[in-house]
Symmetry: D2
Subunit: 339 residues, 4 copies
């Protein structure tokens, strides 16, 4: 940690800062230049509390932290990449995980058809929303527990594990009886109560990046889960909000190699929300795998024109089939396999 | 609603869209040009369901909605500005509301000192956080119910009503026993379960704008609360996330007159989070009032250097005093009063 | 074009708008609903002049344009993708174009070494900057005409064509004697004088996307060049500015398939500026090609540690070699070849 | 300047960095902790060249600059605020400067009417564009030299000085014969050739902030002008590009007190481009002055409905009159005067 002192800070002020640092357990050295005085302080990262206190001390201009704020999720904590098992499927190893299914569970028939289409195309897991966070209170809010039951049924019929979004502690408790992986959606990435709650259970968690979350904030959200004891976190890039409005979001594929460098956690990509446009899902899926992603989560609907939500970005079963074919060709180039 | 048809859509496709629109209760007309065919359809705003179905019909290129998606919060629903009473204080009328207090409740002494300083400076309400959403799991998370009790005590000692943030249904239930207004923080602006929960109670709600929320999404979040029955919503602009990193956020003061035009709800400004810098709070407070805001919510701490959170952006009691003096001079220019 | 009238617009106002539209050559129809009146008007896109006049007419709430504003660059104008020849190299066809070289020309030795390394690795064109737009007036501003001469020399020694950035009409005139393709940099994407100037010559132009330019604005910048007569424009995505600061820019790879859909012009990607980090260049290069890009422009320096600019994002010759090997494996998957 | 070394950097690497720093004239100290080694180096800010070399040395993880990159524009260089005289008007002192006029010069009648309306309302300077940078090549591009003549005429008829935008060296030379202040538009903020050119003449320059420019980049652009010898620079905040689309740009009023703190240059605000909406100009004008701006530049047109550009954001003469009245009331609160 580096403390930059004001150009006109007094010797007394510098001494006070030095003393305070020492009582906090830092070893520090003053570097005096012609125009600036800086204090280099070495020790454990500060509590926020202590940091603020220092920031406010007379003479202190700014503090530059040197250590990254996340620990358990970092490559420093665990150098080897984590491989996380979800209902028999491995995510983060050599295998690419393709998860497919409708945005929302709408009916037994729709869910069953989706699950079979996913299985036939070669996907390894199914998805479907039972609790839908919607911008408008007047939009369809999901089938709730009834939807979870249909997901379970579809999972059993196909043998594919299933992931669904939970939105608070109550829906989390409910979902535990039905699904193999819990999803924390983009809007809840900093719902810290929910993060702690999924941190206290033993079930894999798919953590989507918030719409305006920096990579650091995203990793800190994962840190919440790991720090409560649950190590099974898979990250999911799903596009960030920028000035560009042609696409629904701006898919930040560069986040994939960045996260791979900073963290041992697996990372997959959601090109459906990332683009909002069915025709862009295929090129961005290929690009995601080429960038090093461990898998994809794709919206697919037996009849997108009738989907209650996100129809415009849902693949048809045939579209998913075609895409899986292309991924089969791409995988060996990236030294990956599609099981 | 306008439907733009593809340049090569067939007559049959156009007829199908027309028929579907009619069964949905729209009156519509086809306008055929040399290069484009558009269908103008007039009726109630569509459910999301119906909208998606239409988007997916063969031949449809895009749909341009004409009506705004929010209803109850709109000036069309209520032309006159709402005035909301919180513990005897009126927000949204001629009076400017200045709410002040520490970021977090830290101790009885700190809270009491803050409340007295707020009262002495002329603030009309106090603030203080008992449940703190923090980016890092290793940061101070708030005093919880103990903090609520200290807020109540400080409120009774000064006669000033009190506002505090709630972060889920459990903390909401707890806070009801202690505080006059509930705050929904920026990170929870689209926590729709929480919005519905505060919509079902009879207590004023301060709804902060999300860090990357458009004005429309913010108003839709308010619509969630009103649609559940609670009409007492006060909006709070607190800065949005942009590429500029000199300030903590970019305070979007233009949102004030925009919200005033679109909605009847009161809107106040939080220049403390909006700037992240004590020295910028004064100019931005004056600017907020000049832009037409109904009030301010300010972080103030008896000893900012010792604050456990947000010390750098907290005013001192003297700083608040000085600012109140300037607001007293500014208020009559804006035809407002500080009670 | 759709005109939405105010809820309280009078019949007279509607008639005036209708009449004005007719004198402008539009065929239009009024669609009257319970809450809104819209006028659908069909004709050529309006001049900005006329559009503004209509916007200001009494009773008009807003105007929704239906036609895209670009013409010559659009797929409607030319359905087949353009293939542009630069010094014997074809860009936009089946061949992938890899352009490599240093950020800035620094010396004969550095430029010659770079060109040979590019050729050996299998790149098809070389790059190098002679006029450097720099944020600080105190930074190296380029070798100017001396640099152009070294570029020409390196081009002749290797037989590879060369591209360089021009920054105004004077440097453009100078560069014409030395280089095969002219680059318009991100900061000059809306330097309309410069766009017109390169539009009036017969030399291929590499048009980089501005740091905060929408895809539409970028295509409009290309439209400037085509509308002056020069059809040889190649687009280059190089990252946009967002709130994320971990990378230098946010590489918007989704712009590749979007531009391919909207326009017949070739599009390549610059992962060096797009990421600002040598280690991220390889994954993002592969991702760019997987997303459908027609090529790459890469910063490569014989000794990045000594580069006068952008060393941190420059590949070494060995790094370029390795990347070309991976591209050779990827190309056939994308049905492309590297010549 | 602080150099953070890799966790696994060798003693030899550290020594090499130390030696290189010393040959560069730095005094430095190594601070060794359990997890990190940092080197504090004190001296003049590095050339970009040297900085990059250091970044690339083995063992160096990152470099944290401590000094701000701008010099001549900084408060450190000149503590007292600059007051710049433009045709007898002072900008940056106690007087508030209100500049008004049409977006584009369209005709003698329009320009004369505008200038008289500006004078009658109490504005101190007139504006009008003769060279218009337009997104579309098919839009009106300005009256060019004919427009400059009309500006001069309007200036002489009213006695008010005049400002106009120049877009390259040719238009700059032309404008020198006619106008009192030269404007560099947002799109040209990093047109460094143009910045140098205006830096070499003796005429005040109004430098608009680029659409996606950070405050630091904006000040560096001003530094270009000052470093060439021209000290008469006035900064102009005009809104930045964000995800919010309700307004044309997001007016970053907080930039006003930030620039005032960092630099001695005057700063004014353009609420017309900043909002894109006539009705928002008044509240944002008042807010700008309350935030500490030294003046305003406003689009005003005798008949906005007929304006060839930016009609929607232009005030009417009556609108300007009303606004000036409100500014007269506000000015004394801010201890300013409107001359």
């Amino acid at each position: 940690m580096i403390l930059v002192m004001n150009i006109d800070s007094t010797l007394e002020e510098i001494n006070q800062v030095n003393e305070r640092l020492e009582t906090m357990g830092f070893r520090n050295q003053v570097i005096q230049g012609v125009k600036k005085i800086v204090i280099g302080a070495v020790g454990d990262p500060l509590t926020s509390n202590a940091l603020k206190e220092l920031t406010q001390m007379p003479g202190v201009e700014k503090i530059v932290p040197i250590m990254k704020p996340f620990k358990l999720v970092s490559r420093e904590a665990q150098n080897e990449g984590s491989v996380i098992e979800v209902g028999g499927i491995k995510i983060g190893g050599q295998e690419l995980a393709v998860i497919a299914g409708p945005c929302a569970v709408e009916s037994r028939e729709q869910m069953m058809e989706s699950a079979l289409a996913a299985k036939n195309a070669g996907a390894c897991m199914i998805r479907g929303g039972a609790f839908k966070p919607r911008t408008s209170p007047y939009s369809f809010q999901g089938m709730e527990e009834e939807g979870l039951k249909l997901l379970r049924e579809a999972s059993e019929a196909t043998g594919l594990p299933v992931v669904t979004e939970v939105i608070d502690e109550q829906t989390l408790q409910m979902a535990l009886d039905y699904v193999d992986m819990l999803q924390i959606g983009a809007r809840n990435m900093q719902n810290f109560r929910l993060l702690k709650a999924v941190g206290q259970i033993d079930r894999p968690v798919l953590l989507k990046r918030g719409m305006s979350a920096t990579i650091e904030e995203w990793l800190m959200a994962a840190e919440y889960i790991l720090s409560e004891g649950n190590q099974k976190v898979i990250l999911c890039e799903r596009g960030i909000r920028t000035f560009e409005t042609y696409t629904r979001n701006t898919l930040d594929l560069c986040a994939v190699p960045v996260v791979k460098r900073l963290s041992h956690l697996p990372v997959i990509v959601d090109p459906s929300h990332g683009t909002g446009d069915r025709q862009l899902v295929e090129p961005m899926s290929l690009a995601a795998i080429a960038a090093g992603a461990d898998g994809l989560i794709l919206e697919m609907h037996p009849n997108p024109a009738k989907a209650v939500s996100d129809g415009a970005q849902s693949l048809t079963p045939q579209g998913l089939n075609d895409l899986m074919g292309q991924l089969q060709t791409l995988a060996p180039v990236m030294k990956r396999i599609i099981p």
